[in-house]
């Protein structure tokens, strides 16, 4: 499989590409979040310092139980007299001044062994994940302005001696947003750790990986969140902080080129890790969509079955929908015809009756109007009406 080529950026400007390097094979190692998580949980325990309570705590009394019959609980009690301590319960975890339950011991298994190959598998996975911008973004790094993943800068980065130059380089290369995120996330720790010399917490910024420093480690170390690491001893705790894949890594060209000899390729073993070969994925091609749509698969598929699809028509209410009613009850047509006929006949007769009535009323009205007029005329002929 031909590996893609990665641009090496000039630290003076992100637009100019100084040269190109073939992608080291580690970045194509399988990304195994489960392995990384497992190894990380074990590895994170290896820097622990033992803690325990004193072996004698709570046991430094010759207390003895008073037994039964004295109307007190049977807990061992401090002997003697003359002091408020005498007669008090002792030894038990429930007693005041007693020893705790399950007293912590220094011989707790603090450090965990992890097989070398598993450790290297995890580191390979973590490196591979750092090359995918999706995973780096998901981890929370601000990488919108980074020109390319993995980000490789030319070897002149090794000679950057002043922090302000280091900052300028990061800004040019689009990595400074992550530093800003880290700086702005600095808060006082929640919990008792704040008074135990772990006062502040902040997010992790970019990890700068180099092979030779000519002053750049001092330049970068004061930038908030920025961490430095030699290629030779890349730690999973830096590559996958919290067991989460996708640390934002900035490589120098020398460091990047060294990876093939440190981790090996799929053609040859690692030079600097005896007996180590890059882990192989279960699937050489994990792109399911491509596989499904490939000629090899599509050509062997049976044609898609498009049988008569059962279409269930929408239910329409025959009580309201005349067409459906008619389909269910063909006699409905006759009924409807008869009724409309009757209605129109009724209508006609009704209209006739009304018209006749109107005539009668009209005639009557005329008659009465005539009578009214005649009376008035007669009355007014006799003279003014006086009461």
């Amino acid at each position: 499989m031909s590996r893609p080529v990665v641009s090496v950026f000039d630290i003076e400007s992100a637009d100019s590409v100084a040269s190109t390097v073939t992608l080291p094979a580690v970045f194509t190692a399988p990304i195994r979040a489960d392995v990384v998580h497992y190894v990380h949980t074990l590895m994170a325990k290896n820097k622990r310092q033992a803690y325990a309570v004193s072996t004698r705590a709570g046991m430094q009394t010759p207390a003895e139980s008073w037994g039964t019959g004295r109307a007190v609980a049977r807990i061992p009690r401090v002997p003697g007299g003359g002091t408020s301590r005498s007669g008090q319960g002792a030894f038990g975890n429930m007693c005041r001044g007693g020893r705790m339950f399950g007293a912590t011991k220094i011989w707790r298994h603090w450090h965990k062994k992890i097989s070398v190959n598993q450790r290297r598998y995890a580191v390979s996975s973590a490196l591979a994940a750092s090359a995918l911008p999706a995973l780096v973004q998901a981890r929370g790094h601000r990488i919108d302005n980074v020109p390319e993943f993995p980000l490789v800068l030319s070897d002149s980065l090794n000679r950057v001696a002043h922090t302000k130059d280091a900052r300028a380089v990061l800004e040019r290369v689009g990595a400074y947003d992550d530093v800003v995120k880290s700086r702005d996330s600095r808060k006082i720790r929640v919990g008792a750790g704040k008074s135990r010399n772990r006062r502040h917490t902040q997010r992790r910024g970019p990890l700068v990986v180099y092979d030779v420093s000519e002053g750049m480690d001092k330049a970068f170390r004061n930038l908030p969140g920025v961490e430095l690491s030699l290629v030779d001893n890349l730690s999973l705790l830096d590559l996958a902080p919290g067991g989460h894949l996708g640390r934002f890594i900035i490589w120098t060209k020398g460091a990047f080129e060294k990876l093939d000899s440190i981790f090996g390729t799929y053609e040859e073993s690692a030079k600097f890790k005896t007996g180590f070969n890059l882990p192989r994925a279960f699937m050489t091609n994990a792109d399911l969509t491509r596989i499904i749509n490939s000629d090899e698969v599509q050509s062997v598929l049976k044609p898609q079955v498009t049988g008569p699809t059962l279409v269930i028509p929408k239910k329409r209410n025959p009580l309201k929908n005349a067409a459906v009613r008619l389909a269910l009850n063909p006699y409905q047509a006759a009924v409807v015809a008869r009724e409309t006929k009757k209605a129109s006949a009724d209508k006609a007769t009704k209209a006739k009756v009304i018209a006749e009535k109107r005539q009668v009323l009209k005639a009557r009205g005329k008659e009465f109007a005539g009578r009214r007029k005649a009376f008035y005329k007669a009355a007014s002929a006799e003279g003014e009406i006086a009461f």
Binding site: M1, P4, A129, V146, P147, L245, N285
Partner: protein
């Protein structure tokens, strides 16, 4: 054997990225029995493969311009190497009221 169109970078398949990111991402929000993602490129903020802005190769992101007067539509580029290049890997089109017609035409051209 599956040579044509195989991604040069084996690890970049969307299914793989989804398997890693589905339950573990800084954008994932799980509260009160519901889960959402705030990742750019996810138009519904639903945490599923179909809508994922991290896993999918072709995504559309709609966000406000810095001056809050318009909207920036960012579409991930189809070019094969673009997925590794966050700074240049998406076509960004700004839509605001004045340039409305031109912008819509631009967006239509690129999405179709």
């Amino acid at each position: 054997f599956l040579r044509r169109g195989r991604p040069a970078h084996r690890n970049m398949s969307s299914e793989l990225v989804w398997q890693i990111v589905r339950n573990n991402s800084s954008f994932l929000v799980k509260r009160n029995g519901v889960q959402f993602t705030s990742e750019p490129g996810n138009l519904t903020n639903v945490n599923s493969f179909k809508y994922s802005g991290l896993a999918n190769k072709r995504t559309i992101d709609i966000s406000a311009t810095p001056d809050n007067k318009g909207v920036v539509v960012a579409i991930k580029s189809k070019v094969s190497g673009a997925a590794r290049k966050p700074a240049t890997g998406s076509n960004k089109i700004t839509l605001n009221k004045r340039a409305a017609n031109k912008s819509f035409r631009k967006v239509a051209k690129i999405t179709l």
